[in-house]
Symmetry: C2
Amino acid sequence: MGSEMIYQAGGATCHGHLAMPDETQWGPGPYAGVLVAPAFWGLSPIETGYADKLAEMGYVALGVDIYGDGKLSDKREDANAWMDEFNQNRALLAARMQGALTALKGLPMVDEGRIGAVGYCFGGKGVLDLARTGAEFQAGVTMHGVLQPPESGSTRIKPALLICDGWDDPLDPPEVKVAFAEEMNAHCADWQMLVFGHTVHAFTNTNADGYSPRAAQRSWDAMCSFFAEHL
Amino acid sequence: MGSEMIYQAGGATCHGHLAMPDETQWGPGPYAGVLVAPAFWGLSPIETGYADKLAEMGYVALGVDIYGDGKLSDKREDANAWMDEFNQNRALLAARMQGALTALKGLPMVDEGRIGAVGYCFGGKGVLDLARTGAEFQAGVTMHGVLQPPESGSTRIKPALLICDGWDDPLDPPEVKVAFAEEMNAHCADWQMLVFGHTVHAFTNTNADGYSPRAAQRSWDAMCSFFAEHL
């Protein structure tokens, strides 16, 4: 149900995935918009599928081509190399996300005052880094998104944030969660964290060792409630 | 809509508040049951009101007379003295809760295989201590419930647990939350924690300094979803 959307972001030509609500069901709009930022493999059918599901709920959803040029790999070493470039240049990650945000807001059927973003794993870091730069949107969600701040820190964070995380995620051990909470208390007026016990990284991903159907469903439901509250 | 229910628990005669679903709306039952354990003031109109709301949702709800004899005070020193007795005798707290659980399960219109419990503040400690003794129920929720374990520790915890807590609750500082998570990982197969930023103790209580309409609503909604999943 989605289609390719070409946009420019952070120096790259990006091939996003745009999914639109059915106008016969949802009316003519304008609609709230949601960015869907992918895990470190690149924009895959998992995240374009989420965008399609969000469109079925009445949102204009844009799957973010985080690496540009539609780069996607199923080889961990490729994806790690791509991600490492961003981990060493967090401003580039924020810029790539900001470009997608600008593109989404620029769509005529999108209400630019009702914008959400959800990110998975590395894409969660992208949502947080976008928020940390002071970007204008209303609601951000991370799913096993990586919480460590960039060296540049945060400005005042504008969106409300919902963090969905596994207690046993080795990328976000307890001390990282506590430090993140303190960072948010300092910079974000409205944040929540939903932590799942006995849950590791990538709990939403059916292909991952850490997949947890229970945590996947609960975090999806929590996201839906959160977007309904804020968008 | 509720009525007084006299039951025996932990050596005391207790004056609970029993709220029943409307049979014309919910059918003849049997219904799932929910214990509502009060804050340290004793069973007050706040908690009997929650029990009434749960009955409107189709649950048989029993407001727990935690101190026995219907003891309730609006004087902090009275309530603190009552609570202190239990804090120094956690087995008594568990026994008082177990008595309420037994009474609820014994009602003919209650399905004893579908039992939940929610506790506020000290009542949250009661729900946790009940769970820590290995009591048989399906779903436990704490609202700004106090997380420190008793010296006797936990056996295997049977219910799924949802902890709703303020990040800034001085009764549950970060190190207590982390220790609790580790306790749960060791003893409870299904636990979650929903933490609210910029939120202190007693966020559900409209009379409390810490009242947060936002956290109160979000935690209520999370509890409703949780009970719907498990009961």
